[in-house]
């Protein structure tokens, strides 16, 4: 007798698992950045159009495939066509790369969370220098939050080449992060479900990309989740719900992020004015309280004319305070989450409480997405009879977590953040586009759109509307192809790739070129996942030929 496939306890659990997977850190730190770069509210137009035209159809497709084939990504694509199981393998490889580096973010969130229980918050004050007469030099040049991030958390080296050793503090946090992930996936995936610039073509491309990656298409996680569904569940409804909730979360997160930006900008602007007033008061022995925000410019002009020599001495130290320039600092990624937000939090009342809440939220988002990633890796492994007959489920999960944790230690080295950026930018981007493109073409043209449609109708009892069919067969593949072509040409035209390195002596980021071996790693990352598709197809073809050759020779 065949063992029954474990099922979600109820459809709500499945929906929560998908939402928890799709709503991740990208909603918090990528979407608000894109909104700011591409005209604020008007970015919503290309975003929503891409959501309807690309996001929802592809999400529905992946969920339907998983629910119909009732297997993880490798098994599902093998059922569609044996030559296409390479797509599943490529998905698993990309998920593997992602889980390697993504959990480091959770490790950093743990680090900040544990440090939030102090008064004052450690990133709100600079440490003192050697003889206690002033603050540490690097901290003075940068800011206390940047210093805490780059020096205390990462202990970053000046460039990619200088590796340094593994830092034990982030390594411990990474270990804890992997233990927490292992704890959640131990009992199986089913237990994880408890939650312009319009004319600018770049805005449209970035909207398409954001929808694509924000929903987590192509990793095999959605196929894995859906494979544990009852065949009769309404995956069309689920696809719409998940994509809408994901987008609303992004928009909500942007509202919060923009108010944080405003708070931080105002605070820093007022601080800057105070510093300039203090400097001028001290230099020219002015009356205390004489200089205010309103008369600063006038007084500066007067001083420049009355005491030209003294003024020219002090002029290089006077910063030009501008609210606009503070607001214009658009940041994304780890810089937003760990520098800008912490800077805003440290100035709030009861900052320890806000800090704990904020990093707890980041952890929830990050771990939710990690569970989806590990599901994408584990489901094909536990589905395969060879592996699951030798090892129990707990051991397979433990092995996967252990291997990922060991490799993840690379990101806790001094140069680790630079390798993190490499993985973050290149491990998933191009490969995913190709994977989803092949998925769509496989379902529509290899398996057959009519056959898939009748399967869905038999499975769920509902007909598939013409809208989905048009999107699957025509619009979405065309969109993906154009995205793919754009990114390829962008990479080729830009020439050598560059990265941002932290310069401790200047207290800011500088641009540097990647060394040759880093470029090789990037190429390897992209190639190892994309090459799976043709290689496995070729291998299956050769195996078939050999089998047919044997049969023919025997006959």
């Amino acid at each position: 007798m065949e063992k029954a496939r474990p099922l979600w306890a109820n459809p709500l659990q499945f929906v929560f698992a998908c939402i928890s997977y799709a709503v991740g850190l990208g909603n918090v730190w990528r979407f608000p950045y894109l909104c700011q770069m591409y005209g604020g509210g008007s970015f919503l137009v290309p975003y929503i159009i891409m959501l309807i035209v690309e996001g929802m159809p592809l999400l529905y497709l992946e969920l339907a495939v998983g629910q119909r084939m009732r297997q993880g990504s490798i098994g599902a694509w093998r059922t569609i066509s044996p030559y296409l199981s390479g797509v599943g393998v490529a998905s698993v490889v990309v998920s593997f790369f992602l889980s390697m580096y993504y959990n480091v973010i959770n490790a950093w969130a743990f680090w900040y969370l544990f440090h939030s229980f102090q008064d004052p918050l450690p990133w709100s004050v600079c440490p003192l220098n050697g003889n206690h007469t002033g603050y540490d030099e690097e901290c003075e040049k940068a800011s206390s939050t940047q210093y805490f991030w780059y020096r205390k958390t990462l202990n970053i080296s000046p460039s990619l080449q200088e590796n340094g050793g593994v830092q034990w503090e982030p390594a411990l946090c990474l270990l804890l992060a992997w233990l927490v992930v292992y704890l959640c996936i131990l009992r199986g995936t089913e237990s994880t479900g408890k939650m312009e610039q319009l004319a600018n073509p770049k805005a449209w491309i970035n909207a398409a990309t954001q929808i694509f990656f924000s929903l987590g298409l192509g990793f095999g996680s959605l196929i894995a989740f859906a494979s544990y569904n009852e065949p009769s569940s309404n995956c069309q409804k689920h696809a719409i719900i998940v994509s809408l909730i994901n987008s609303f979360t992004s928009i909500f997160a942007s509202i919060v992020t923009f108010s944080i930006y405003g708070f931080k900008a105002t605070f820093n602007y007022e601080n800057c004015l105070k510093k300039v007033s203090l400097l001028l008061t001290n230099t020219f022995d002015l009356e205390d309280g004489f200089l205010t925000a309103s008369n600063l410019e006038q007084v500066k002009g007067y001083l420049a004319s009355a005491y030209p020599s003294k003024y020219s001495e002090v002029f290089p130290h006077i910063k030009n305070c501008s609210l606009e320039s503070e607001l214009d600092t658009a940041v994304q990624g780890t810089g937003l989450a760990f520098i800008v937000y912490t800077e805003a939090i440290k100035n709030m009342e009861v900052s320890q409480l806000w800090s704990v809440l904020y990093f707890f939220m980041l952890l929830m988002l990050g771990i939710g997405s990690m569970l989806g990633n590990t599901a994408a890796i584990l489901t094909p492994l536990t589905d395969s009879k060879i592996i699951s007959s030798h090892l129990p489920k707990e051991a397979i999960s433990g092995l996967v977590c252990l291997v990922n944790c060991a490799i993840g230690m690379v990101f806790t080295m001094e140069a680790g953040n630079y390798w993190f950026d490499i993985f973050n930018d290149y491990a998933a981007t191009l490969s995913l586009l190709l994977i989803v493109l092949v998925e769509t073409i496989a379902v529509c043209y290899v398996y057959g759109l009519r056959r898939f449609e009748s399967d869905l109708k038999a499975m769920t009892g509902r007909a598939v509307s013409w809208y989905w069919k048009v999107m699957w067969a025509g619009v979405s593949p065309l969109l993906i192809v154009s995205l793919f072509v754009f990114y390829l040409s962008d990479y080729i035209l830009t020439g050598t790739l560059k990265y941002q390195a932290w310069d401790a002596s200047q207290g800011q980021l500088v641009t540097k070129d990647y060394p040759a071996y880093a470029l090789a790693v990037i190429g390897l990352l992209v190639a190892s996942s994309t090459m799976c598709i043709p290689l496995v197809a070729l291998g299956t073809f050769v195996l078939h030929h050999l089998k047919r050759g044997d049969v023919a020779s025997v006959a």
């Binding site: 544990f114 229980f117 004052p120 007469t133 804890l176 233990l179 704890l183 008061t281 022995d285 002015l286």
Partner: protein, 154 residues
């Protein structure tokens, strides 16, 4: 009031001062005054109801108070607590999983024994386990039983 000499008056509240020794009638050197001020900064601040941010002596950089440094960093304590909780939870889950699997392994072995018995008696049909057919005595045909009971007893 004497011995107060005003000079170099500026708009902000600031002044130069010299310390004289009345017995020897000369001004004390600056270095001595500076060390004295450095040692007693707190008392001077208190006398004026000011602090290091609001009262500054030029050329005497104030030493900043080092932040409180507990012997064991607080974050390690919290880390240790959460680490232990997670390890305990993982161990519990693994142990309960092993216990469940041992229970499942016992059940199929019992079913296997019964099936072996059935095979010897050649009474397996359509994969139905023989347990319900393996009666204690001979074969009872329920139809005859009810017939006898319908007859009125004498």
């Amino acid at each position: 009031i004497s011995h107060v000499l005003l000079c170099n008056v500026t708009q902000r509240v600031s002044f130069w001062f010299v310390v004289t020794d009345p017995s020897k009638n000369h001004t004390l050197p600056a270095v001595e005054v500076q060390t004295a001020i450095r040692m007693n900064k707190n008392r001077i601040n208190g006398a004026f109801f000011l602090n290091d941010q609001t009262l500054e002596f030029l050329k005497i950089p104030s030493t900043l108070a080092p932040p409180m440094d507990p012997s064991v960093p607080i974050w390690i304590i919290i880390f240790g607590v959460i680490f232990c909780i997670v390890i305990v939870a993982i161990t519990l889950l693994i142990l309960s999983g092993i216990r469940q699997r041992r229970r499942k392994n016992k059940e199929p072995s019992e079913v296997d024994d019964a099936e072996d018995k059935c095979e010897n008696m050649n009474t397996i049909e359509n994969g139905i386990p023989c347990d319900p057919l393996d009666m204690k005595g001979g074969h009872m045909n329920d139809a005859f039983m009810t017939e006898d009971e319908r007859l009125t007893p004498l």
